[in-house]
Amino acid sequence: MGRRTRRLAGLACALVLCATGCRPSFQRADLVILNGAEPESLDPHLVTGQADGRIVMALFEGLTRFDPRTAQPMPGLAERWDISDDGCVYTFHLRTNAAWSTGEPIVAEDVVWSWRRILSPETASDYVGVLFYLKNGEAFATGKLKDFDQVGVRALDARTLRVELESPAAFFLDLCCFQPFAVVPRQRIERHGDRWLHARPFMASGAYTLDSWRLNDRVRLRKNPRYWDAANTQSAVIDLLSGVVPATALNLYLSGAVDIVWDKELVPPDLIDKLKERPDFHIAPSLGNYFIRVNVTRTPFDDPRVRRALTLVIDRDRIVSRITKGGERVAYCVSPPGIANGTNVYEPPRGLRPDPDLARQLLAEAGYPHGRGFPTVTYTYNTQESHRKIGVELREMWGRELGLRVELRQLEWKAWLRAQSMLDYDLVRSSWVGDYNDPNTFLDLFMSENPNNRTGWRNPAYDRILRQANAETDPARRQELLCAAETILVEQELPVLPLFFYVNMEFFDPARVTGIHENIRSEHPLRVIRRTASAPAGKRPHEVSP
């Protein structure tokens, strides 16, 4: 027995050693960020989530990049640009010191190749739609045009790039900051295919290179010394941890193991009231909204009066104060407050404010006085406690004010997505996070042909006005057009019922971490973030020395 026990003990020790010894001795990074769920990819042409995008934009830069304070576009790989008078032709001048992390220069042809890659049908990028503003971009991406030379991007010489748009787009420079427009290494991708991110040495065009990447653990970034602005990169090594459990996130933050938590999904919902009192808990408005899609292909929702009646009895204040509790602003339109229209701030329409009497009148006009004859309808949401609570509130409001019978239907994530795209719902909980700082990122969803419309609503007038707005270069005129389109959406037709605008919630101590600035997009470029002081002594007992 004794011998066996000793053997078992030996085995256990060997295992413990293996658990840790397999890893190179671990050293804490200069900055540790809990980033949220594991990134699906680090390929700028494939990622879709904001958390993934934050890492990707540190690795791969485009012609412009975000100003850390305002999230406005500022020069990136391009040091300057000229815009033609009609707003359709951009000429970008690349920096002479723009280089890959392996030392080769980044030239205009690299940009052309990168944009060609994301536009290629074989890449099948979910995000390719943001390149449809390029001349013939859509035709090439959908396979209708085979000749890439007809797409509006061309290298005039090694340092000059000519970009032609279908029509003027006030937000094009903003788009150029965004990861689908990033420059990726042709050499690596042609040679290694889907596995190009694992090839070493890593070829980065941004401020960081990829040091290591272990799924569900962390992405470790290391400063790219050949980045053109490397002198201003603040942290040498950054760890971005993956995690999805709010309680663990809070514990990691409080124990000093991580410096920043910046995913609102990682805030324990029951503790929000308490957390709001902490100086290191930050709530900021974000470019996202929460709304209900209405399936207008089904009676009785094919009648706009019914849809208006539904929105007029929703007590949004109750939802944000009792359920979400993060200081979300109630929404009567789809464009978040503060969103830009060129250099101006966009003024959205007022929308339909609560008016239960008018709602009852509308419902009666539609043939359902006091809800009589109105079929039982379902409200569909994806599995999450807050969505369920909101559904319960809505059912109560619609029942009490309009006499409607509403059943709640909970679906698991993928089934919920499929139900929306198949129009297999009556009313469904939805949300959207903007891709760029312009109302169009929310409004173009509801264009007739947009695959993300998912309401069955088609309105030629809406399509036409929005197209006009996007071709307009005069901000005042554009404001009018955008507002006219949004008025159709949120005051007359209501294929969607806006509920509230999201906020972002972040943990970080401004006394110890610098470089994070509140801005409408919650863009926090990693290159400017720095931990200035360690946690107070004794607060981090678990640090492991190499």
Partner: protein
């Protein structure tokens, strides 16, 4: 030997059936891997995406393609983590889950066997009731409660261990205990039952009558037979532990494959689901085989049958 061969020969067809079921069932679930909140900008792009991963082909054809890949040892690419293959993900996560699983196994055996043994010897005394109460607690309280309680006390309050992550030997302790405590309780109960049954058998009385010391009776004769229920339980237990735990890995942010076991089906990551089901099936079948062989070594009656 013949028995062993028969079992081994049965393995491949069994795995084939399992893989086929997994392959088809996961495709029956509503929604697909590329249903996302943000759909591609046009139906053509969505079609290109499906074509790229051959998801536009009939299921039978896809299955043949999958088998052809399997022959080359290729499970295919993950559809959610598109820069990783299924083999990459298993290669990254499995060693972590194996380590944690083996440690938790050691923990539950090391705690459960002595506890059950002790409980059986002290029948009717308060000490037996004490052990019974503890094991009952261990079995009844789920790991998603044990884990947070341990973290609360040992990591947050007293700062003895780190709250989460997988970085150093210290980081291993809490997840091991949280994962192992339930199984320790289970093993203790099985062990106690086995011991009580064994001590009633005639050969124990014979051994005592021969004048053997009580220690020799208990350790050399009784223990060997009493441990059989624990051994038969340890096969599926090991398969469970080695393939990771969704709850514990999530809670402690451990990069094992337990999380993928659940999430891959939620995200309809078809190749990942099939790969993991196969991995789990192989482990389960092999471990059960080993357990059956262990009976032969432990119980002379089985040997003679």
């Amino acid at each position: 030997m013949k028995y062993l061969l028969k079992r081994l020969v049965l393995l491949p067809p069994l795995l084939l059936v399992i893989s086929f079921l997994a392959f088809v069932l996961v495709r029956l679930a509503p929604g697909g891997p590329f249903d996302r909140e943000r759909k591609p900008a046009s139906p053509e792009i969505e079609r290109a995406l499906l074509a790229r991963y051959h998801l536009d082909e009939p299921v039978a054809r896809q299955y043949v393609r999958f088998l052809a890949g399997l022959v080359r040892g290729d499970f295919g690419a993950s559809l959610k983590y598109r820069n990783h293959t299924v083999s990459d993900i298993i290669a990254q996560g499995l060693p972590v889950s194996l380590t944690l699983g083996m440690l938790a196994f050691g923990f539950s055996m090391g705690l459960g066997i002595p506890a059950g043994f002790y409980g059986a010897l002290r029948r009717g005394q308060w000490r037996e009731h004490g052990v019974a109460l503890l094991t009952l607690l261990a079995v009844c309280v789920p790991s998603f409660v044990v884990g947070p309680v341990l973290v609360m006390l040992l990591a947050v309050k007293w700062s003895v261990f780190p709250v989460a992550l997988w970085e150093s030997p210290l980081h291993v302790v809490l997840p091991t205990a949280s994962l192992g405590v339930y199984f320790a309780g289970k093993v203790a109960r099985l062990m106690r039952e086995g011991m009580v049954q064994t001590l009633r058998l005639e050969f124990i009385q014979t051994a005592r009558a021969k004048g053997l010391s009580e220690t020799a009776v208990l350790l050399r004769h009784a223990l060997r037979l009493a441990v059989v229920p624990v051994v038969s339980y340890s096969g599926p237990l090991l398969a469970d532990l080695l393939t990771g735990s969704f709850v514990i890995e999530n809670l402690f942010q451990i990069p094992g494959i337990g999380v993928f076991m659940v999430n891959s089906s939620l995200s309809r990551d078809y190749p990942m689901v099939v790969g993991l089901v196969l991995l789990y099936a192989i482990l389960l079948l092999l471990l059960n085989l080993i357990v059956d062989l262990a009976y032969h070594l432990l119980d002379p009656r089985v040997r003679h049958e």
